[in-house]
């Protein structure tokens, strides 16, 4: 057993941190809350140039060919400084889904473009009603055209393409439809939200599909597998945010004096922070384990769901308690904790919320033979 990262992984962490420091940072996070794009263009450029958009794309398709554990290292760092971008949606979720569902020809066409940052893909899954279940997908796909709407689509403003979950008329099967963002018949409306992130409601009216990905009955389980893959990176991102929030809080508690002593000396606060530290460490390791298992060819999707559930709860609790420990300062926009607090709920609810995760985990736990054909309790 060896729980250390490799030399290369440590370097990857350094590279990511340097990019965040140079091109993002909390000041930029604040600016991005106000502007339409939602992330600094130079940051995206740096991700492309350093190969991070190609990280887990296979070498055969123009990628770097690294694994999920390497992506975890990257996303933990991104989370630390709230450096969000379409990286997760495009290079992790969409790329993985295309890799799993695409024909050789489809993969050769799209994966190199994703790896090189030439296309930026937004994944559109959720519909009104907010269900991550298969039955939540009702958007109609017929004769290569889409009709219906999606909600909470991230970064639709800068995406070049949308990868849209749809239901094929007739067969009723799930398909993944890739459309150019500037196609006719796509209407995008910005949705203000707690995290001030660029989320959009998309309405498709006879919008033409560019590439249709389908694996018949297997489409849904394979999409779930791609979601699991992305869930691990998102867990790492949430853990990174939680760890940073906890560090900031501990620093504050060392310097803020009330009743003649640093407030960190009050055990009501120090014990709370100690508990958070346990949660954060456990959550990080859980994501590492899920990523490692995926790379080692072991059963990993149960771990992925557990990692996401744990990380979501940890970031919520860390930011809630972290704000409380900051006292009045924590409530102000001038101070940084609120940036983490508002994003925490998004990290927790998006990309599988707790209720869905509980059912998924129970399903996988009770039917351990088949990670891909899970029966959920209703």
């Amino acid at each position: 057993m060896d729980l250390d990262f490799s030399e290369e992984q440590n370097m990857l962490r350094e590279t990511t941190r340097a990019i965040c420091d140079q091109h993002y940072g909390l000041e930029a996070v604040r600016d991005c809350e106000e502007n339409e794009q939602g992330y600094p263009p130079a940051f995206w450029q740096a991700l492309v140039e350093s190969g991070l958009t190609a990280l887990t794309v296979p070498e055969d398709f123009g990628g770097v060919g690294l694994g999920l554990l390497d992506a975890v290292v990257v996303f933990e760092e991104l989370g630390r400084t709230l450096s969000t971008s379409p990286l997760l949606s495009s290079s992790i979720l969409a790329a993985r889904a295309i890799e799993l569902l695409g024909t050789e020809q489809q993969k050769s066409r799209w994966l190199p473009l994703i790896a090189g940052g030439e296309v930026v893909i937004s994944c559109a899954q959720l519909e009104e009603g907010g269900s991550y279940d298969e039955r939540g997908v009702t958007l109609d796909c017929f004769d290569n055209h889409l009709n219906g709407s999606k909600t909470l689509v991230p970064y639709a403003c800068t995406a070049t393409h949308f990868l849209t979950l749809a239901r094929e008329r007739g067969s009723g099967q799930i398909v993944l439809a890739l459309l150019a963002a500037d196609s006719e018949g796509i209407d995008a409306r910005r949705q203000a939200n707690i995290a001030s992130s660029p989320s959009y409601q998309l309405t498709f009216t006879d919008a033409k599909v560019e590439t249709l990905f389908s694996a018949g009955d297997e489409s849904w389980p394979l999409w779930q597998e791609a979601m699991s893959f992305a869930a691990v990176t998102l867990s790492a991102q949430a853990s990174g945010s939680a760890e940073q929030m906890l560090n900031t809080t501990a620093e504050y508690a060392k310097t803020r004096v009330q009743f003649g002593k640093p407030i960190g000396q009050f055990q009501a606060l120090s014990h709370t922070m100690a508990e958070l530290a346990v949660e954060v460490e456990a959550g990080k390791t859980l994501a590492y384990q899920a990523a490692w298992a995926q790379g080692a060819g072991c059963a990993w999707q149960l771990l992925a769901a557990q990692a996401k559930l744990h990380a979501g709860e940890t970031i919520r609790r860390t930011t809630k308690d972290g704000l409380q420990i900051h006292g009045g300062i924590g409530f102000t926009t001038e101070a940084d904790p609120q940036l983490y607090y508002r994003r925490a709920k998004q990290l927790q609810l998006e990309h599988w919320d707790a209720e869905y995760l509980e059912r998924r985990i129970a399903g996988l736990l009770l039917d351990s033979d088949s990670e891909t054909s899970i029966k959920f309790a209703e």
Binding site: L126, E128, G129, G130, S131, D133, R135, G136, T151, L152, R189, R190, Q191, A192, N193, I194, A195, S199, Q201, V257, Q258, F259, G260, K261, F266, A268, L269, R316, K320, L323, Q324, G327, G328, G330, F331, T332, T333, E334, Q338, Y341, R342, K345, Q346, Q348, L349, E350, D353, A354, E355, E358, E378
Partner: protein, 396 residues
């Protein structure tokens, strides 16, 4: 034992409701009745809201519990509470500092001049106050405040800083605590002053928060206050501040908003579908609601203990601490649970297409953060309960 309000109290509640119904028909109603504002933001911060407060005064709902000699109705303390519950339930500005802390402190300790000048204005809602206690270095440890007041002629010269002074941007008068003696114990050198906020030397700077709740930091540069505007005796301010907390107990802890939140959530869950059936029919949702509703009833019980103790003339320090701790933590937990139950669409704000429940819950998740901080943090309430109720030793 009887958990119900008396006949008189019930009749009074009806009177307040009738008044509010009439107000709700006026043009300014949508501006005044804003239930989406969280409790701490229920201030008379606009012309419309001030006009509403004047109407409250005209209808005789201000000074209910004041002695007759000061223009009051000499009703038991619970009546202030009853008014506030009704106001809170429609999201109107509450009767607050003026009728409570400030009016009552002036009646007990103020000079005749201050009483004559301010009490009638308070009854008519002609004056709004800002409360100036907290400082950057003095939050939970309020008695360590430093804003300096130095003797100067027939008055005092103030220099220093306050922070978190909500209302300072629109109020007329300041109710301000400052340090007049730094030689003795920290509790013994604080004095209360009254001064107009538009006075030269006072600079008010906005502090924006992550909810619709502006507060302020305020800087004092050689601000002069005459002896006439010292409240009570010099260096006795701390005891007045603590005493005033007791005047507030009736008015401060409304229970309605928490109950209304839960009711609104139940309605929403009945009318929002997930996977083909209303959320309220999902088992996990029912379990969460069962627990929240139990906590709401428990919080109500603790709140009732506060008003009953106060009605018997006891100082309900422990009851208030329990009530505040329980209801503020619950308010946050309801918002959080609501978002968890409603799922990702609950992240969407009021203005977003496709939101659920009008975006109220993400607003609430931000707004309720301050409830466990302002007015004594949850940790401070626990300290009070540990020491006063359980008689545990003070650690320091």
């Amino acid at each position: 034992m009887n958990f119900e309000f008396t006949k008189e109290e019930q009749a009074f509640i009806e009177r307040v409701r009738d008044f509010l119904k009439r107000e709700a028909e006026k043009d300014y109603a949508s501006e005044i009745m804003a239930p989406e504002r969280e409790g701490h933001a229920q201030l008379a911060d606009s012309e419309e809201r001030r006009e509403f407060c004047r109407q409250l005064g005209k209808a005789g709902f201000l000074g209910l519990t004041w002695p007759r000699e000061y223009g009051g109705k000499e009703l038991p303390g619970i009546y202030d509470y009853l008014v506030n519950e009704e106001l809170a339930s429609v999201g109107a500005p509450l009767i607050g500092k003026g009728v409570g802390i400030i009016g009552k402190t002036l009646m007990h300790h103020g000079s005749d001049k201050l009483k004559r000048e301010f009490l009638p204005k308070i009854l008519n809602a002609e004056v709004e106050f800002a409360l100036g206690y907290s400082e950057p270095g003095a939050g939970s440890d309020l008695a360590s405040m430093k804003l300096k007041a130095e003797r100067d002629g027939d008055g005092w010269r103030l220099n220093g800083q306050k922070t978190w002074n909500t209302s300072a941007n629109f109020a007329d008068w300041y109710w301000l605590a400052a340090r007049t003696d730094s030689t003795g114990p920290k509790h013994k050198g604080i004095t209360l002053f009254m001064l107009p906020l538009d006075q030269k030397g006072i600079t008010v700077r906005a502090i924006e928060t992550m909810a619709a709740h502006r507060t302020n930091e305020v800087f004092f540069d050689d601000v002069w206050v005459s002896d006439d505007y010292v409240v009570g005796e010099v260096n006795k301010g701390w005891s007045y501040i603590c005493e005033a907390l007791d005047y507030e107990r009736f008015a401060l802890y409304t229970f309605g908003p928490v109950k209304l939140k839960l009711d609104a959530l139940v309605e929403l869950l009945k009318n929002t579908e997930r996977n083909g059936k209303p959320l309220a029919q999902h088992e996990h949702v029912q379990r969460v609601l069962a627990r929240l509703s139990t906590r709401v009833e428990a919080a109500k019980g603790l709140q009732r203990k506060v008003i009953c103790a106060a009605a018997q003339g006891r100082v309900p320090t422990v009851e208030s601490a329990m009530c505040k701790l329980c209801s503020t933590e619950l308010g946050q937990d309801i918002s959080n649970a609501a978002m968890d139950l409603l799922g990702p669409e609950a992240l969407l704000s009021h203005s977003a297409p496709g939101n659920v429940g009008d975006g109220a819950w993400e607003n609430s998740l931000r707004g309720t953060v301050v409830d466990t901080i302002g007015g004594g943090t949850s940790q401070i309430q626990k300290n009070i309960i540990a020491r006063r109720h359980l008689q545990l030793p003070n650690p320091s």
